[in-house]
């Protein structure tokens, strides 16, 4: 298993090995192609996630998409923002 789906509600999976662009993955019974290099432990989008939509891991909200995130993309600080402790928005 290269990508872990923690909870069936999740829209991201966790790379259990470093992934390269073009890698074919099977996650929760579905096929998926990695769109870029994704380091060990980092997240890959399992579905298209429109900007502003919640990113779900552990079956819980971990933040929201800053931009449109295409299925198979690396999901991290460049396209996912926190909703908590945001003094910059307060």
């Amino acid at each position: 298993m290269d990508v872990l789906l923690i909870d069936p509600r999740d829209n991201v999976g966790v790379a259990l090995v470093p992934l390269a662009a073009g890698d074919c993955l099977r996650v929760g019974g579905a096929g998926l192609r990695s769109l870029g290099a994704i380091p060990f432990g980092h997240k890959v989008a399992l579905r298209d996630i429109p900007a502003g939509e919640a990113v779900i891991k552990y079956g819980e909200v971990i933040g929201r998409a800053k931009v449109f995130i295409t299925r198979g993309s690396h999901v991290h600080v460049h396209n996912l923002e926190s909703l908590r402790g945001r003094g910059d928005l307060a």
Partner: protein
């Protein structure tokens, strides 16, 4: 299930039997350190505080120092003061929990300076250390364990392997009458609803939410994005993108038990079972707060790797991934990366961790102890004047 521990006069149980040389003010650090270097069986804790503080900040510093001295892993204490500081030795000695342990007081200005103060303090420490050496471990119930849980230098695996295994151990300890401390309030932001569902009562839920609001309020008042410091740069390199994601991994350490109580920094729990202490996420301030609150052993999970260890409480280090275990074998006691590869289940690794916990509580030295890691920091809530 039982372990071998040191029974104290107040009925608490130690997993270690240290003589502590405790400066009440930064000015006494060097002499306290010299005493501990001279006398076998002693440990000194250096810190930067103890003078020109006031209000809550002063109280919290006194409580942390006195709580550390009261910890059941300490046989007796030599408290070292300068003589003109805001936090006097008498104040720390009288703030100690009524533990019945021997306490000796040394004031540098009354002893004629460094050399004679060091010699006098060393004689006090020799006396206590010899007394301590005559104590024998006795069989104790697992219910006497007060476990501090901690994660530091987390990565995305922490919430998948090491923290769930620690949660399994937390649940077993609580079932057997033990006490488990969860802390790191910052790292519950975004996971508070999970703990609220398990709060023993409305008051516990309100106390938990108040602690989280206070911590998040500090971030909001700063005008900055918390993500400038939480998650840390290392957390992010390890795959954690937001504080919510970090918290949802952290909260696994608490297992699935009922949350009995929420206590302030460096307070002793008044209940058994799962208790939350309101501490920052900063590793050493958290560790020191839990030690002052009376934990007699700590399990510390890490994904990036940390050598941290308390000077008086054994700190068992668990890696969340096997690459880290291989890279920092000198610091890591047990690898939880086997959960990710399928070699272990959370339950089977939890059982190994529980076995290790009982060995360590009975005297097995942890890697942090073998390498004399001795980390201590007090969470300050106000400025120095």
């Amino acid at each position: 299930m039982r372990f071998w521990g040191y029974e104290r006069p107040d009925g608490s149980v130690g997993t270690r039997n240290h003589v502590l040389v405790l400066p009440t003010v930064a000015c006494a650090n060097h002499i306290a350190g010299s005493i501990a270097t001279l006398v076998a069986g002693t440990v000194a804790i250096a810190h930067q505080h103890g003078c020109t503080q006031m209000g809550d900040d002063l109280e919290q510093t006194i409580r942390t120092l006195a709580g550390t001295a009261s910890n059941s892993n300490v046989y007796g204490v030599v408290v070292v003061g300068l003589g003109c500081e805001a936090i006097s030795v008498q104040e720390v000695a009288s703030a100690m929990r009524d533990s019945g342990k021997p306490v000796r007081v040394l004031i540098i200005q009354e002893r004629g300076g460094s050399l004679s103060a060091t010699a006098d303090g060393a004689r006090m420490a020799m006396d206590l250390s010899q007394q301590a050496s005559m104590l024998r471990r006795v069989e104790c119930s697992v219910g006497r364990i007060i476990l501090g849980t901690e994660c530091g230098g987390s990565d995305a695996c922490s919430g998948l392997s090491a923290n769930p295994a620690l949660g399994w151990v937390s649940d077993r300890l609580v079932e057997m009458g033990g006490t488990v401390l969860l802390a790191e309030t910052t790292e519950l932001i975004g996971a508070e609803h999970i703990l609220c569902r398990r709060a023993a009562g409305k008051d516990v839920e309100q106390a938990l939410m108040a602690a989280i609001r206070k911590t998040e309020g500090r971030a909001l008042a700063s005008g900055l994005d918390l993500r400038g410091t939480q998650p840390t740069p290392g957390n992010m390199e390890g795959g954690i993108s937001t504080i919510e994601e970090k918290s949802l991994g952290c909260v696994h350490k608490a297992g699935s038990s009922v949350l009995q109580e929420v206590i302030p920094y460096a307070f002793a729990p008044s209940k058994r079972g799962l208790v939350m202490m309101d501490t920052p996420g900063q590793d050493i301030e958290q560790l020191s707060g839990m030690v002052a609150g009376g934990v007699n052993v700590v399990i510390f999970t890490t994904g990036r790797g940390t050598p941290a260890g308390s000077p008086i409480v054994p700190t068992i280090k668990i890696s969340s991934n096997t690459a880290l275990y291989k890279a920092m074998r000198d610091n890591i006691d047990l690898d939880a990366g086997t959960v990710l590869t399928g070699q272990d289940s959370v339950d089977s690794l939890g059982q190994k961790l529980l076995d290790e916990l009982l060995e360590v509580c009975s005297g097995k030295l942890t890697k942090a102890e073998l390498l004399r890691h001795s980390d201590f920091a007090i969470h300050r809530t106000g400025p120095t004047f």
